[in-house]
């Protein structure tokens, strides 16, 4: 049974939804961070799928940019998380609301 493009797209949609819901419902910063990664990779998967389907290398090369940016973002984000861990116990996002208006 050949796996056609719609499977990949469905998988990507499922991954994206898991990531989005996870981001919204979890309170742990580290987990929220992983959810963001999940969403990014869901987007990557759609890029690759369409690159295969449309026979266009553009989608695959776009993925490299996303990976690079994601890696950079991980560096900054993890740095912030480490800084937070140093100052307080635990990393519950709701405890960090100093910018409340």
């Amino acid at each position: 049974m050949s796996v056609n493009a719609s499977w990949y797209l469905t998988l990507a949609a499922v991954l994206f939804t898991i990531g989005a819901v996870g981001l919204l419902v979890r309170r742990n910063v580290l987990v929220m961070f992983m959810c963001v990664e999940l969403m990014l990779n869901a987007a990557n998967l759609t890029f690759v799928t369409f690159a295969r389907t449309l026979n266009d290398i553009g989608g695959q090369s776009e993925v490299f940019f996303v990976l690079v940016v994601a890696a950079a973002e991980v560096v900054v984000g993890l740095g912030i998380i480490v800084a937070i861990f140093r100052r307080r116990v635990g990393a519950t996002a709701d405890d960090i609301h100093n910018l409340k208006g």
């Binding site: 989005a20 981001l23 919204l24 419902v25 309170r27 910063v29 929220m32 996002a93 709701d94 960090i96 609301h97 100093n98 910018l99 409340k100 208006g101």
Partner: protein
């Protein structure tokens, strides 16, 4: 020799430039000597240029020295140029001469002042501006000098600015002059619009293309400028207050030179006045009215400088009377002689004030003749000269004006004659109160004040007194009313001759006029001596209405100053705080209150922001999908 003309205003300006950074270091008296020498150099240069001009044939006595193109915008071209002609050189000669003497006097007068160098810095700047005013070849450069002398006058009136009266007197002079200067400015606009030039020579050559109404407007607007600068009705009260300045300033700026700038301007524009007889008539009437008004007020003042100030206003009125009837030579002649004897009287008053420890009230002087013989004698000469006693300078110059006035309009003559009697009277009163009678200063000072030992000032102050007294005696020689002796009239002919009022008198008539002048002078002197010999209290001769200067200053204060102050208060409260500030504060309050609501959006919870992002994403997606379906 004419080429040296640019040095005339440059020397005092150099003095100014040196004194600005180094004045304090040069100190007392070196700064004063530097300033004096600069003005003296200017005087010597003037003599050289004067001689150069004199050697030319009368019709060729005109030399324009162009420094550079000052403003050049399309058709509007103004050069920085000097106009060397008999009129400007006559002015320059007496301005520099009298200035040099008064600078010398100031070295003595200001010797105890802490701001010695600053005083001379302003004085030098003043002389430079005055010379630019006089020598300029166009209206705009004249205006530059005009404003320059105005600002120096302001600085020097307010020289002792820690005294509130001096500070407000300076402001008063500035504000009154602004009114006049507005007239001068509008006149320049009109001149340029009608003739396309501001150069005197070009403007005068093109006058035949300009209609009489325009010329009348131009003449009256320029006269408005002159009224402000020369303290004529209705803009005269500032000059009386200007006496708050140091006495040498009063002598130089508010008697001898700056205030005569208006008369000079009227003589300079004689071709315009010739074509605008109505304007000339207004000038003569205003001049006559001011002459009489100033003289009446001077009769009842106690402050010696106030007497001289109102006398100056009166004499300036006399000059405008002469200029208005077209007797330009008489106006310049009176201006010259007046510069000598009025500067003399002011400097004499300064010596007395100095000796009396800054007291200015004539009622507290008395019997100073023995203690201060040089001052007394020179003041006496000044009084007799201004009073028109033969054969002193004032006799000839005032007689010249009166004779011309008679031929023009007998009403003007009568006003002039009454003024002449009053002039001899009020200065006689000042002399008698100051130098004769009881030693009233002894009793005034016995109540705790310092003991006074009045004496004549040192040589730097007495030399100018003696020189000016000498000039007040002999200055009449430059324009005697005999054929071949009217030197000034013939000298000025190339400038004013074509548009002058030329009355003819027989020798007998001239003798009658001379006799009448003698009578006026004798009457004034006799009344003054008989009324004020041995007494200082004659309330009947000093009616309150005259002591209060006809209540004119009071009326201005009530009608104009109070009204504008109240208007300013209303606008400060209602317009400024309520309307303008209200609008500004209202905008601020609006943003404050809206922000108070909107800030609730910033909860500080990451999940809320994430939800917002998601919602936005959904909205964008929904929009895209709805478009494609």
């Amino acid at each position: 020799m004419l080429r040296a003309a640019f040095l005339i205003p440059l020397f005092p300006f150099l003095g100014f430039l040196v004194l600005v950074p180094f004045g304090r270091r040069l100190g007392n008296p070196l700064a004063g000597w530097l300033a004096t020498i600069m003005v003296a150099c200017s005087f010597l240069t003037t003599i050289v240029v004067f001689a150069g001009l004199f050697r030319l044939a009368p019709d060729h006595r005109l030399y324009v020295q162009t420094w550079y193109s000052w403003i050049s915008v399309d058709r509007f071209r103004v050069n920085a140029d000097l106009l060397i002609d008999p009129l400007s050189m006559t002015m320059a000669a007496f301005v520099t001469g009298v200035s040099a003497l008064i600078h010398l006097y100031s070295i003595g007068y200001m010797e105890h002042d802490e701001q010695f160098a600053k005083f001379f810095l302003y004085m030098n700047l003043f002389v430079s501006s005055m010379l630019i005013l006089v020598l300029s070849g166009n209206f705009l450069l004249t205006f530059l000098g005009w404003e320059g002398v105005g600002v120096c006058s302001y600085f020097l009136i307010s020289f002792w600015f820690s005294r509130p009266s001096a500070a407000s007197a300076g402001k008063k002079a500035m504000i009154y002059n602004r009114i006049g200067d507005a007239g001068f400015l509008v006149a320049m606009f009109l001149i340029f619009e009608r003739t396309g030039s501001l150069e005197y020579q070009t403007v005068f050559a093109r006058l035949s293309h300009v209609g009489t109404p325009s010329l009348t407007a131009i003449a009256l607007l320029l006269f408005l400028g002159a009224v402000g600068k020369s303290a004529q009705l209705p803009l005269y009260p500032w000059l009386a207050d200007a006496m708050e300045g140091p006495t040498p300033v009063s002598a130089l700026i508010h008697a001898a030179t700056m205030v005569t700038a208006g008369v000079y301007l009227m003589c300079r524009i004689n071709p315009i006045l010739f074509r605008a007889p109505d304007a000339a008539h207004v000038i003569a009437i205003v001049g006559a009215a001011t002459a009489l008004l100033g003289a009446t007020i001077a009769c009842a003042q106690d402050d010696i400088k106030k007497i001289l100030a109102y006398s100056t206003i009166s004499q300036l009125g006399y000059m405008f009377l002469a200029a208005g009837i077209g007797a330009y030579t008489a106006a310049i002649f009176l201006m010259l002689t007046h510069a000598f004897y009025k500067a003399l009287l002011f400097l004499g008053a300064g010596s007395v004030i100095h000796a009396m420890n800054d007291e200015q009230d004539t009622k507290r002087f008395g019997a100073l003749r023995r203690a201060m013989p040089i001052t007394a004698v020179t003041f006496l000469i000044g009084w007799l000269a201004i009073g028109g006693v033969p054969v002193l300078a004032g006799f000839w110059s005032k007689g010249d004006v009166l004779m011309n006035a008679w031929k023009n309009n007998s009403g003007l003559y009568i006003v002039g004659a009454v003024t002449a009697v009053l002039t001899a009277y009020y200065l006689g009163r000042a002399y008698m109160l100051t130098f004769t009678g009881q030693q009233r200063w002894v009793e005034a000072r016995q109540s705790g004040g310092p003991q006074l030992h009045p004496h004549d000032p040192r040589w730097v102050m007495s030399v100018p007194l003696v020189v000016l007294a000498g000039l007040s005696v002999v200055a009449g020689l430059i324009n005697l009313p005999f054929s071949h002796w009217d030197l000034l009239a013939r000298w000025l002919t190339p400038v004013v001759g074509a548009h002058m009022f030329h009355p003819h008198f027989t020798t007998a008539q001239q003798w009658y006029f001379a006799l009448a002048d003698l009578l006026f002078a004798a009457l004034g002197v006799a009344v003054a001596v008989s009324l004020w010999r041995g007494t200082a209290e004659r309330p009947a001769a000093e009616p309150t209405v005259l002591r209060r200067a006809w209540y004119i200053d009071w009326a201005y204060d009530r009608l104009l100053a109070r009204g504008s102050t109240e208007l300013a208060e209303v606008t400060a409260l209602d317009v400024e705080t309520r309307t303008i500030d209200g609008a500004v504060n209202g905008v601020g309050a609006l943003f404050r209150s809206s922000a108070r609501v909107l800030r609730k959006v910033q909860t500080g919870y990451v999940r809320n922001y994430a939800l917002g992002l998601m919602a936005g994403l959904v909205l964008v997606l929904a929009y895209v999908v709805s478009r494609t379906v």
